[in-house]
Each structure stands twice: as C-alpha cells, then as structure tokens.
Amino acid sequence: MSPEFAIASIVTIIGLTTPILLAGLGELITEKSGVLNLGVEGMMLMGAICGFAATAATFNPWLGVIGAAAGGALSSMLFAVLVLQLNSNQVATGLALSIFGTGLSSLIGQSFTGRIVPQFGSIFPDILAKDPIWKLLFGYSPLVYFALIMVPLTAWFLKSTRAGLILRAVGENDHSAHSIGYSVIGVRYAAIAFGGALAGIGGAYFSMVITPMWAEKMTAGRGWIALALVVFAGWRTGRLLVGAYFFGFLMWLELFAKANGFGDSLPILQEIPSQFWAAMPYVMTIVALTLISSRGNVGASAPACLGKPFLPST
C-alpha cells in the first residue's frame, strides 16, 4: 500500500464520516430531549439543496452553510409542529419528513441541476493545506473542523451546562420536568431545530464539499446511517465520534470493494459483495444494542421518554 494511497484513503474516510458525524450529533441532541426524529435523511437533503442554492445566489460558501442550517432547521420545524403541537406519532411523522424532504429538495433542485458553485478555500495557508503530508491535518474543508469542534462542545453542553441538564431531564422524564416548571415543548423545539440545522450542514457537505454540484438524493441514505450511529453510540458523545469514524471506515470498505480495490492482492475479500459492507453499520448497531441490553448498562440506554408524545395532565 503506497503512502499516497493511504493518505487518499484517510481523506476519503474523513469525507465519508463528516456528514454522519454532524447529522448524528444533531440527532443525539434531539433524542436526548426525548424526541425521535427519523427525518434526518430528508433534513440532510433540504440542507444540501438550500446550502447549494444559497451559495449559488451569494457566491459565498459561508453564507451557503448558513442557508443549509436554516433549510435543515426549517424542515425540522415542520416535524416539530406536528409532533409537539399536534401530538402526531413521531415515527410516522419522521418517516414522512424523510420522504417529504427528498421530494421537496428534488423539486427545488430542478433549476440548479448542472450548475456549479464556488467552493470553500482552505482555511490554513497553502503551504500546509496543499502539502502532500500536512494536508492530512490541514487540508480539509472547514466543515470537517467544524464537526470535530462540535463533538467536545456537545459533550460539554450535555454534561456541564445547566441547559444541558434540563435537556436531559426533559428527555428522561417529561412530566417531572414539566411539574418542576421547565418548558418541555420549548426545550424540544430547540433540540429539534438544532438537530435539523446540523443535519442540514451535514447534507450540505455533499452538495458543497464532496461535489460542488446538486444531484437528487445525493445523500444516498446517509441520514439513516446517522440514526443508526446514535443508537450504536449508546447516546454518548464520545462514542458517537468513534462510531462515526468506524462507520466511515465501513463505508470506505464498501466503495473500495466496489472499485475492485481488493483485486488480486486480497481475492478472498473481493469475493464479498460490496453490499455486505454497506449493511455493516446496521449490523454493528444491532450488535451494539444487544451488548448494551445484555450488560444492563444504564448509562448507555435510550432516554426514557424517547419517542413518547408529551401530553401534560391539565
């Protein structure tokens, strides 16, 4: 394995990981507040097209990211109104959001097909960012660094801030939080919006970083992997980071196998269909769930109110 190939592989893995890391962090916050939003795929696509459109309109990728966050957050608000205000079923509504986001993004995207938008420049000096070795550390899109910074920030928020404590409390026991005097619905709105914004930025990574072009369904099911990732991580931030890179590696294996990369050197591995690797994140999620429940690990279990509508007893 040549050093060039190793570097290229690592860069690919980081590229595959960043969108699911961003979307996973957003979903983690949403789920910690007790809301299961299965619409991640839809929100990512909405973020992808809104980010693309905002960049095309302003020729500024930074404003594009803000557009992506807004697109993801706005589409999540549709979900939020339905499940929080009208108490609709979270699973059904989340699935509907995924389908709706896929369709709406395609509709908006029709006029953008074939266009190319300006991309982020590197944030580090070229001497580092373009260096064949140093680019491993300094050569990425700003969104990669943003995702990595968000991991400790999220962990700190959940563990050490009062707002994080309240968010966890709302997800753990909504009725108690309500009776103490916290606004369950308000906290959940904020958590869903944050989840939508991060999913949107994650989606924009496809339309603004991986390719500077828009294509329908370009997130290719990564929203579902982000959902699995949150479960795989046992609702813990640190494990979410590890899990995201592990899943990124599995997705890289899929691409590698598709490109006949094992080829002659490892013919046994090449025998395995690439779909096997594509399925692995989900298989690993089930394995992780089984381990969590067999150990009876309290800290790694779902927030107690996850997926349950909050109906205050008047």
Binding site: E172, A177, S179, G181, G296, V298
Partner: protein, 513 residues
C-alpha cells in the same frame, strides 16, 4: 390574630370540560400550622394544590399570600414566594444522580460544589440521610422521597405542600417524616398535608379542611374529630364496615406455594427467593411490603405469566400448576388481578364486553369451536356491571372511559363472578375512592366466605390489617413467616417491611449496585 394568614384562598373555582373540579373553595393556612387537606380521589385536592403551586390557574377566586392578593403564574413563581412541593408521584429523573435531580429543582444557578455543601447542611439539620452521587434508580422509595424533601427544603420554604407523602413508606419511615415536618412547623414553616389516612392526620395536623366533589365540606380540628367522623364527612355518608359472616371456619389448604424461585427480569427487577406459604379455603392471605420488593414478580409467578422454575412450586388443591400457563391456571380455578388496571388487567381501547372475554372466555363458555360468542360475553359483562354497581354506559363502554375505581370494580367483578377456587389480587384498591374500596373489600370477603382462597398483595398496611386473616411481609424477594392478623404487632411488621432498606443499612452496602 395579628399576622395575616400565610396562605388565604377565597372562592377558588376551577372548571374542566364536564367537571367542576373546585367550587368556591375558601380556607386559610397560618404560619407554622400543619394543615391537612382531606378528601377522596376526585374530590379536587390535587387540582387545588396545583393552583397554589402555579401549575394551573384558577378560573375564579383570590389567592392571598401573607395578606396580599397574588397571581402565581407558574411553579417558578411559587418557589420564589417560598412555596415548596413534594409530589405524590415523585418528579425524579431515574438515570440521573441525586445531585443533578436536586439541581434541576433549583431556580438559582448554583455551582455543583456549593450545592452539594448546601445539601449536606440541610440533611444534617433535619437528620436526613442521602448520598448525593448515587443514581436515583438504585434508591429505595423512602430515599427518593428524601430527595424531594431536601429539594424543597433548600428553598427555605414558608409553605411546604406534601401530596400523600406516606402512601409508599414503612411505618418507621412515616415516623421519621413526621419528626422532620414537626421540626419545620416549629421553625415557622406552614405545611399543607394532603392525605386520606385519617390516623396520620390526627397524629400530625393542627387543622383539617375536607373536600368532597370539589366543594369544601368542613374545616375542623382533627384532635376533636374521630377518624370515623372525618371519613364520613369525606364520603358524605355513613361508612360501611366490612360484614363478615359469623363463625367462619377455614377449610383445607387450597393454594400451596413451596420453594418458588424466579430469577430477576432486567437490571431493576427483583428475584423471588424460595417463597413458601399456603392459603386455606375461606382464608384471605395478605402480602405486605414496600413497593419494588418483588410484589410484581410474585403476582406474575402466581398468575402464570411467568412459569415457575420448579413445576411443583405451586399447587391448587392437589393439582400441580407451577408449569402451567395463565390460561391453564384459570381453567384449574386460579384467577388473578394485576396491579395495573389499564394495559395489564384490561385493554383500554376494548369494550367491557371484549375485556370480559379476555379472562372469562373458558370458564364462562364464551368461546366454542374457535368462535367468540359475543352475546354470552355481553350478558356476562352486563351481570358484572350490575352486581358490582359499575358506573358505565353498558357492556359496550370502552374500558378507558371508566374512572379508575369503576374499572377496578369491573375487573374484580369479572374475576370474582367466575367463582375461582383461588384468587390472587395485587393492589385491589390502589387509587380507588373509599366507596369503591369498601365494595371491593366486601366482595373479597364474600368470595372467601364461599370457600375460595384469596391472596391480597398490597402496600397499604391498613387495608391488609382490616381485610386479611393471615399476613406475611415480602422484602427483597423473600417472604417472611406468615402471622395471624389478630394480635399482629405493627412494629414488627414495619421492621420486616423495612428489611435491609431500613435505616440500619450501612452506606457501604448501598453502593453495591
């Protein structure tokens, strides 16, 4: 009196769709007074205190605090005034630590270390024992209540509202709680104490306000009243005693349980260890204990939802039923009623007649050749409704349209009218008003008089003492030796209930989880 009352309610009215929850309620609580709020379920006590604590707003009426009229917009505003509340159903977060739970109840942002120091100071002042860094799910019920109390005390309350605080405590824990409450009152804090346990109110409270059907019935001095007179004011009629047949003789053992062990299900379950007892024909056998000591596991093992490890563990008469399913046990004459009405004993979205089919289909001939005979089921449900005076629109009424007490009467009736040889019931009168509770108790006594053996699992010791012939205590999945109720020693029962959950427990041991 020179100083104005701490809390003065006048003409408080609250209306819900179809119900007048509070109708022109007026009373006052003085500084340092322990004031009881008495009433049956549905009398409007909870609604009233929710308005005092700012969770709801009154439709009409004035609340005065230290003489000045105020609006309590939300619980935060209530706490700012110095109103603390300890809920009946604890508002705790199971997967979080004691410290985090207390921090959530504080409005001021206090650094965790300072908060911990404050907590320790309050606990020392009132002799409350609690370990701040334990996860709540590992604590006993009494310890959980202490979290709520500490949380309320940290606010230096001027008025502490206690909503049925003793319903889940052992007699010893109740005594400790009363010591704390008396100390608080002596320091000038007013206490609004909600309960329906009349002897506690006589022992603790200075004044009692009695509500019935949302209206204030009377404000009286519990020291002057008798328990009976207060109970009659509560239910608005004369209290019926349980009528027992004279010269009842117990028959041969009907239900024999020996060496019954069940492993625990899940991290918070309780394993049953070598349970043994026998119940004679005509006997009512009570199983007392603090919640979470294996009562659920025992009910599941007796009902057949969980098969015994050893088939010989349970006998009905001479039939060995330990390995049989719930359906087979019903055919063998053994019926059961679990604690949870909605979702376990009955399907909320099913009609009463469909719910009757669920457990009575075989014994009452509602199914033949795989087909349900809806008419038989409807007739049977109608008979149950009539015989147990269930307030429902008829057999077609949905189970969840009934009030808790009425659904419980229906479920008890559904089992009792099948004339089971053995009936196992858990918490037969939990959350049921006094009238319905009396009817359920009478039905159990009447069933026993026909020669059935009855097992009653309950956390309400008063209920067991008035109902049962024999009593045993379950603690940590082990059952004590049975003792006759006549001449039972409350002190001893309390100690058995406390088991190692009591105050003798060393802090080191409690870290074992």
């Amino acid at each position: 009196m020179q100083t104005p009352p701490r809390l003065d309610l006048s003409g408080i009215t609250k209306r819900f769709p179809g119900v007048l929850a509070n109708d022109q309620v007026s009373f006052a609580v003085q500084p340092g007074e322990i004031h009881a709020l008495l009433g049956e379920n549905g009398a409007g006590k909870s609604t009233l205190v929710k308005m005092i604590y700012g969770i709801m707003q009154p439709d009409a009426g004035v609340i005065r605090w230290n003489g000045a009229p105020i609006t309590i917009a939300n619980p935060k505003a209530a706490r700012k005034l110095g109103i603390g509340m300890v809920f009946q159903h604890f508002s705790l977060f199971e997967a979080m630590t004691v410290l985090e739970n207390i921090a959530l109840g504080m409005d001021a942002k206090i650094p965790a270390r300072d908060l911990e120091a404050k907590i320790v100071a309050v606990m020392q002042q009132y002799g409350l024992k609690l370990e701040p860094h334990r996860i709540v799910s590992t604590l006993s019920v009494g310890e959980r209540q202490r979290i709520e109390i500490v949380r309320a005390l940290l606010l230096n309350p001027n008025l502490l509202i206690m909503d049925e605080p003793t319903s889940v405590l052992t007699p010893q824990e109740v005594e400790q709680l009363f010591v704390v409450l008396r100390q608080l009152a002596a320091e000038g804090c007013s206490i609004l104490y909600i309960s329906h346990k009349l002897h506690e109110i006589k022992a603790l409270c200075d004044t009692a306000t009695i509500l019935r059907g949302g209206k204030l019935v009377d404000t009286c001095d519990p020291a002057v009243e008798t328990s009976r007179s207060m109970a009659e004011k509560m239910i608005g009629g004369s209290l019926k005693d349980i009528q027992r047949g004279e010269g009842r003789a117990l028959g041969k053992p009907k239900l024999i349980v020996q060496g019954l062990s069940v492993p625990k299900d899940g991290p918070f379950g309780v394993a049953l260890k070598d349970i043994g007892f026998s119940v004679k024909a005509g006997e009512i056998f009570g199983i007392a204990g603090v919640a979470g000591n294996g009562q659920n596991a025992l009910l599941l093992a007796l009902s057949g939802e969980v098969a015994a490890q050893n088939a010989e563990a349970i006998y009905v008469d001479t039939t060995c039923v330990g390995a049989l399913s719930a359906k087979q046990r019903r055919l063998a004459g053994m019926a059961s009623v679990p604690e949870e009405r909605n979702g376990h004993a009955a399907v909320p979205d099913f009609s009463l007649s469909d719910n009757a089919i669920l457990t009575a289909r075989d014994r009452m001939g509602m199914v033949s050749g795989g087909m349900v005979n809806a008419r038989t089921a409807k007739t049977y449900a109608g008979e149950v409704i009539t015989a147990f005076s269930v307030k429902a629109t008829g057999p077609a009424a949905m189970a969840d349209s009934l009030s808790g007490g009425n659904l419980q009467k229906f479920i008890m009736g559904r089992e009792i009218m099948q004339k089971p040889q053995v009936l196992v019931v858990s918490q037969p009168t939990w959350g049921v008003d006094a009238g319905a509770a009396a009817a359920i108790h009478q039905a159990l006594v009447d069933l026993a008089a026909t020669g059935s053996a009855i097992v009653v699992i309950s956390q309400d010791l008063d209920e067991l003492l008035s109902l049962c012939d024999t009593l045993a205590v379950i603690n940590e999945g082990r059952l004590s030796n049975p003792m006759p109720v006549a001449g039972a020693n409350i002190e001893e029962i309390g100690l058995l209930m406390g088991g190692i959950h009591g105050e003798t427990q060393t802090p080191e041991l409690s870290h074992a989880s």
